[in-house]
């Protein structure tokens, strides 16, 4: 048994004034009688008949003191679990989403700390032969502790619990727990610890009883919930960018805050003082010049939310007080034209002043690679006709290939007079592109392999996408110059989308931006050492095992710098989630299909003992009312 809000026990201090008031108030009326001889005997009779008779004059005080004690206990939110039958198995599902890092009102502990304490209490109450296992519910459920009864192992696993990322997959975690409890003995159950920080109803399906314990209290929190940095160049400011941030104050009272944009590893770019109204999103736009660094790479914009007084108390959740985004791609994207690129394609590229085209050949590229193996083509590579055996690192476009296979994808024989019949408008490359009634004089249909069809004609797939660990390849099985496509405005948009996507991938340094806690996906040759430096300065080293390594990182917002040999990569991780930043407990738990399962509604889901204490309080108040109205009645 534990108290989720022990500070509320301070209400017990009211007992002192209550007793004082009662003592001062309790002045009995004096009544002179001839003799108290018979009254003394009568009182003795009453006390013999009911030994607690002596307490009756203090009954009102006792009832009121009991009510006060029970109220303080209820406010302290007692919670816990009872003894379990021998051999019972307990699977603890712990919400490790970012909202569990929210600190309590006094700042002493986070919600995950409270969950740890509760789980320790649960572990101490394990019956003989009982086992405990842990399932972490973050973006995806993971088993962090296999069923065990070893106290040391349990303690270690509890201590290792920490916030993992965004999203609490409680439903999936409970399903996983249920899987672990198949054929479990009687008394086995699933215990969920969560802050209930999800907006949608959570349906818990299990054949064993489920207890949902809610941790944490509602505390004010200010959060950055969106960040975007876009280029807004002008003749005078070719590197001008627009930094857009959306902030929300999750509290009941307004407050003033500072929003500061700075260059990662550099100085402050812009700042703004804003008045935040409760739960009203506020968009803030700041302008700044973001020139590429000495290597021609764009920097990263870091936006922080801070108070007027930097030395003041920290925000309830630090993870959402900082966000980072890449600056718009470097002003000029290198585009390597390998082979004789179609004229329409060249014209479209030249129309973009942020593109720097280079004409080269496969042979020249091979010769350069022989001279400097670590130096790679850093931009968009457009192959026309011929393509190398392996794709380059980064994005590539292959136009009208002449070979039968390109990067493992087979091409069919040439077809004449094809017409485009469908295209994937949800692909970023085809965004705002319309290809209806585009006629292709000739095309080679793309077949099989790992290619994903992008554009289909009545003769087969005309364009496809091929993804590889370090980038993506767009494959065109036709020559645009021999089609009606260049006549459409959509052609320019298509080329522009390809360039923007390549620019974005380049800005990210090869590691896609992702949400908080998502492992870094690093492409590295086997055996290469991968050195990761976290935004808080922490370092970790690992060795690549295969072509792609997943590097686990702590749930910290910011830029993770990765060094793979001579290469420097950057992975960005942000919270940017209004759902996680909102400190209110909003989840509704619905239990389905579980025999003997608790109905985990809004009230029952808490499974805290305060409900029973409150019922006892009501009973005491009823007794007090009964006593007050019945006393002295004849």
């Amino acid at each position: 048994m534990g108290l989720l809000s022990p500070a509320s026990l301070a209400w017990l201090a009211l007992l002192a004034p209550l007793v004082a008031l009662y003592v001062l108030r309790r002045k009995h009326q004096l009544r002179v009688v001839g003799s108290t001889l018979l009254w003394e005997r009568a009182v003795r009779d009453l006390r013999a008949e009911r030994p607690f008779q002596r307490l009756i004059p203090y009954a009102s005080l006792l009832l009121q003191a009991s009510a006060l004690i029970l109220a303080a206990l209820a406010l302290a939110r007692p919670s816990g679990v009872g003894r379990l039958p021998d051999g019972a198995r307990v699977v603890v599902v712990v919400d490790t989403s970012a909202s569990m890092a929210i600190r309590s009102g006094d700042g002493r502990s986070t919600r995950i700390d409270d969950a740890r304490d509760a789980i320790r209490a649960l572990a101490e109450a394990l019956p003989s032969g009982g086992t405990l296992s842990l399932v972490e519910a973050s973006d995806e459920p993971t088993v962090s502790l296999a069923p065990t009864r070893d106290p040391a192992e349990i303690r270690r696993a509890i201590a290792a619990l920490e916030v993992r990322g965004v999203g609490a997959s409680i439903e999936q975690a409970v399903a996983l727990a249920q899987e672990r409890l198949r054929d479990a003995p009687s008394g086995s159950r699933i215990v969920v610890f969560t802050d209930g920080g999800t907006d949608e109803a959570t349906t818990l399906r299990a054949e064993v009883p489920i207890e949902v314990h809610r941790v944490g209290t509602e505390v004010p929190n200010d959060a950055i919930v969106a960040l975007d940095v876009r280029a807004r160049p002008s003749d005078d400011h070719p590197d001008r960018a627009e930094i857009f941030a959306r902030v929300v104050r999750f509290a009941d009272a307004p407050a003033a805050r500072w929003i500061v944009a700075s260059l990662e590893g550099g100085g402050v770019l812009a700042s703004r003082r804003v008045e935040l109204e409760p739960r009203e999103p506020l968009g803030v736009t700041m302008l700044a010049d973001l020139p590429p660094d000495a290597e021609g790479r764009p920097g990263f914009v870091r936006v922080t939310l801070s108070r007027d007084d930097p030395a003041g108390a920290a925000d309830a959740l630090a993870l959402d007080d900082v966000a980072i985004a890449p600056s718009p791609a470097a002003s000029r994207l290198p585009v390597f034209l390998v082979g004789d690129a179609p004229a329409s394609l060249r014209r479209a590229l030249l129309a973009d002043r942020d593109v720097e085209p280079y004409r080269t050949t496969l042979e020249a590229i091979a010769a350069r690679a022989a001279e400097a193996p670590d130096l790679e083509l850093d931009g968009l590579v457009i192959y026309t006709g011929r393509a190398p055996d392996a794709p380059p690192r980064g994005d590539a476009l292959v136009v009208a290939p002449t070979t039968d296979r390109v990067f493992g994808v087979a091409l069919g024989a040439s077809e004449e007079g094809a017409r485009i019949v469908s295209w994937r408008s949800d692909d970023p490359r085809l965004r705002f592109v319309s290809l209806s009634d585009v006629a292709l004089d000739s095309m080679r249909p793309i077949r099989g392999g790992e290619a994903r069809a992008l554009v289909e004609t009545d003769r087969g797939v005309a364009a496809a996408s091929l993804t590889h660990p370090s980038g993506e390849v767009t494959l065109l099985g036709f020559d645009p110059d021999r089609s009606t496509l260049p006549e459409r405005p959509s052609f320019v948009i298509l080329v522009r989308n390809l360039v923007e996507r390549a620019r974005a991938h380049r800005a990210e340094g090869g590691i896609p931006s992702a949400r908080l806690g998502v492992p870094l996906r690093v492409v590295a040759p086997e055996g290469t050492e991968i050195d990761v430096r976290a935004p808080d300065g922490g370092r970790s080293r690992t060795r690549a095992r295969s072509g792609v390594s997943l590097v686990t990182i702590p749930a910290i917002s910011g830029a993770f710098e990765v060094r793979v040999g001579a290469r420097r990569l950057v992975g960005l991780r942000n919270l940017l989630s209004a759902e996680e930043s909102d400190p209110r407990a909003r989840a509704r738990f619905i239990t389905q299909g579980g025999e003997g399962a608790d109905v985990a509604g809004q009230a029952a889901a808490t499974r805290e003992a305060w409900v029973y204490v409150a019922l006892a309080l009501l009973l005491v108040l009823a007794l007090e009312a009964l006593w007050a109205t019945r006393r002295g009645a004849t």
């Binding site: 009995h28 018979l38 009254w39 009756i56 002295g632």
Partner: protein
């Protein structure tokens, strides 16, 4: 005349006499049969003649029949001594009218009847001990003085029936009726003083004075009851249960007192303040068994 007695009541009393179940030796001749032989007109018995006896008492008719001299003996008629012991302890000041008023009225009525019947009447008030005593007196003309004396009795301190009786007996009074007019709420008990009087040849007559407020206490909240004599305090919630318990104790006390009297063949009457004294006094004077 005193305010203690109503004229109509006095008129009814004038036709009544004190009732004594015992015979006592009187101090002077009166109208009451004595335990000794005397010279009344009522024949008692014969006894053999001895030299020196009054020859005028020889029953010559018996001599004619028996040829033996016998004397005719007649019942002696003495007066009766009535001792009125009036409780004036502080507890008698309780009630409306007070128990002391009722006690004094009873004493006045008995004194009136006694003096009217040429009995010898003495009045004693007592609290912790005897006080405010009047010398034994007789004769109808003394009624006024006795009533004035009763009027002057005021409430005193705590009750001690035993010491009062001891003090009375210490004066070696002539045996007679002792009217104990009290609430008998003596922490030392009522049994010993009554038995002491019996043992010394007296006939106690018990008038138990109870205030209506004692019989039917008013309910209320939490109160502190203060003893009017000792100042002792009792905290009690005057709810229905407490009052029930008190009434049970009061009934038991009355039954105990009455039982004690009956067992010894004594008269016992209860006088409630609101009901007046007529029932109790007339009940006694009419010789009703109580």
């Amino acid at each position: 005349m005193s305010s203690l007695l109503e004229p109509a009541f006095l008129h009814r009393l004038s036709r009544l006499h004190l009732v004594a179940r015992r015979r006592f030796l009187g101090g002077s001749s009166g109208s009451r049969r004595s335990s000794r032989r005397g010279a009344s007109a009522e024949f008692a018995e014969h006894r053999p003649y001895y030299a020196g006896d009054d020859v005028r008492r020889i029953d010559w008719n018996a001599y004619a029949r028996l040829e033996e001299l016998v004397l005719r003996l007649f019942v002696a008629e003495d007066d009766l001594s009535l001792y009125l012991l009036v409780d004036r302890s502080a507890s008698l000041a309780f009630g409306a009218p007070t128990k002391l008023e009722i006690a004094k009225q009873i004493a006045a009525a008995l004194a009136f009847v006694g003096l009217s019947g040429s009995e010898r009447v003495a009045v004693f008030a007592f609290d912790e001990t005897l006080s405010m005593a009047t010398p034994a007196t007789r004769g109808r003309r003394r009624i006024g003085a006795v009533l004035r004396h009763l009027d002057a009795i005021t409430a005193g301190s705590s009750t001690s029936l035993s010491r009062a009786v001891d003090a009375l007996l210490a004066q070696r009074p002539r045996p007679g009726l002792v009217a104990l007019i009290s609430d008998f709420l003596d922490p030392e008990g009522f049994e010993r003083p009554i038995d002491r009087l019996l043992a010394r040849g007296f006939e106690p007559v018990l008038f138990h004075v109870i205030a209506h407020e004692e019989l039917d206490p008013e309910p209320g909240a939490d109160v502190v009851l203060v003893d009017s004599e000792s100042g002792h305090r009792v905290e009690v919630s005057l709810d229905a249960r407490a009052i029930r318990a008190y009434r049970a104790r009061l009934d038991a006390f009355c039954a105990e007192l009455e039982g004690h009297a009956k067992k010894r063949g004594l008269f016992y009457a209860r006088a409630e303040t609101r009901l007046g004294i007529e029932g109790a006094v007339l009940g006694y004077l009419r010789g009703e068994a109580r």
